[in-house]
């Protein structure tokens, strides 16, 4: 995949930003897509800044929160493009025009090429350029 997201350029990556077990992508208009890869098949949860079809959600002050099996999973603020974990124990992720923020880490103007995952975020922290973790569903929509 070749994609420009926030101020980062990803070339030849399979997933540009992997937040836990969710792929995060941004289209050319700056709209966000969040796809869960923890099941057998990829499940779109957020599509172009909105809750995807057949996904349970609740409105919150800043946008909406995704609910899975009765549990609040994360919230998404479509205006500021901030994804906040509720029960995933992951650092907050913000994508804006000038930088990508993961927790308190700022990534700006990076070109990431030839990795399975461009930016990987998990409970332990984050990294730039990583192999694709095992056990994820294929990113096919």
């Amino acid at each position: 995949m070749n994609i420009k997201m926030s101020s980062q350029i990803f070339k030849d990556v399979e997933i540009p930003l992997l937040w836990g077990k969710r792929a995060i992508m941004e289209d050319k208009e700056g709209k966000i897509y969040i796809i869960a890869l923890d099941g057998k098949k990829a499940t779109i949860e957020v599509i172009a800044n909105e809750p995807a079809p057949n996904i349970e959600y609740e409105l919150v002050e800043t946008g909406f929160k995704i609910i899975l099996n009765g549990n609040d999973i994360y919230s998404f603020d479509p205006n500021k493009k901030i994804i906040t974990s509720i029960s995933l124990n992951l650092p907050e992720c913000e994508l804006n025009a000038s930088h990508t923020r993961i927790g308190s880490n700022i990534i700006s103007g990076c070109s990431i090429s030839g990795f399975g995952v461009g930016i990987v975020v998990n409970e332990q922290g984050m990294g730039i350029g990583a192999p694709l973790p095992e056990g994820l569903a294929a990113l096919i929509v």
């Binding site: 995949m1 994609i3 897509y33 779109i44 172009a48 124990n89 308190s104 096919i140």
Partner: protein
Amino acid sequence: MKLIFNSDILYADSLISSSLPNQLSEFFNKCTEHTQEHEVIIPLTTLLEFDRKQKEFADKERKNLKNAKEEFSKYNIKYNDFDPNEKIQEPDLITLIKEMGIPCSVEEPNILDYQSAHEKACSKISPCPADQKSDEMRDLVIWEIANRIANENNGAILLSRDKIHTHHRGDEIAVKSNLLRCNSFERAYEALNIETVSAKKIKSLLEKIKQELIGSELPIHDNYQIISIEKVKFVNNENGITKASCNIKLNSGTGQEISAKMDIDFFKEESLYVSFSDIIVGKSESKDIVIELEKKDISNIKYQNSIKKLKRITKD
């Protein structure tokens, strides 16, 4: 109302310095806008967990600064010397909450809290699950503190997602001590009679079909009022229709209270279908009611376009 926090609701996923995470500051803002009578209680256990996490974040930041200094020195780059320990400070959670204009205090467990938690953990007494492998004393100590505070104050709210705190095993004890358990800020808003964004949305949809509601079999009159809308959940379908479900309480306009489960389908701002089930009017059960509304022209290609875009992105 005393608001007691567990560390799975009161947390920050990075080092905080001058302000609380957004979700917390929003909650405290709304509480203070609503009334000045709420008070935040932080069990010492919660504070210790919060501080431990913040120390981890701070240590990492200090290490980053130390590494940066070493890199500068390695390449003889001049900089104003600084002490990473002084630059990176850990937050004082209680002060930050108080600065939001809401009273806040730390509650230390007393000997009875420890003894009761210890007994529950060892004897697997509710809310401790009988089959739990790890004996989570911290959660039981918070449970004891929360019930004690609720008993002492004619009620309290415990904000926690923890299984021990939210499981129905704890129902009997929580009811006795008048402890309301909320597993999200939205449920806490409902418990505090603060309207949620979702409830506002449902209210605005119902306002537009007021005449249809009055003309339906629902026993309401012109001056009916919505008392509460709770536990709202939404699901969109592929056509762009949103299905919402919630619990609703109404005043009929003649003094009767009506409670029901409500389902409403809407497209953009137009309601298409409303149904009420499990209806209780006063103390009597009533049959389900379905209100079919005027069919609207639904043509939504929004999702199809977005999916096409996503497919292009993943294939590029």
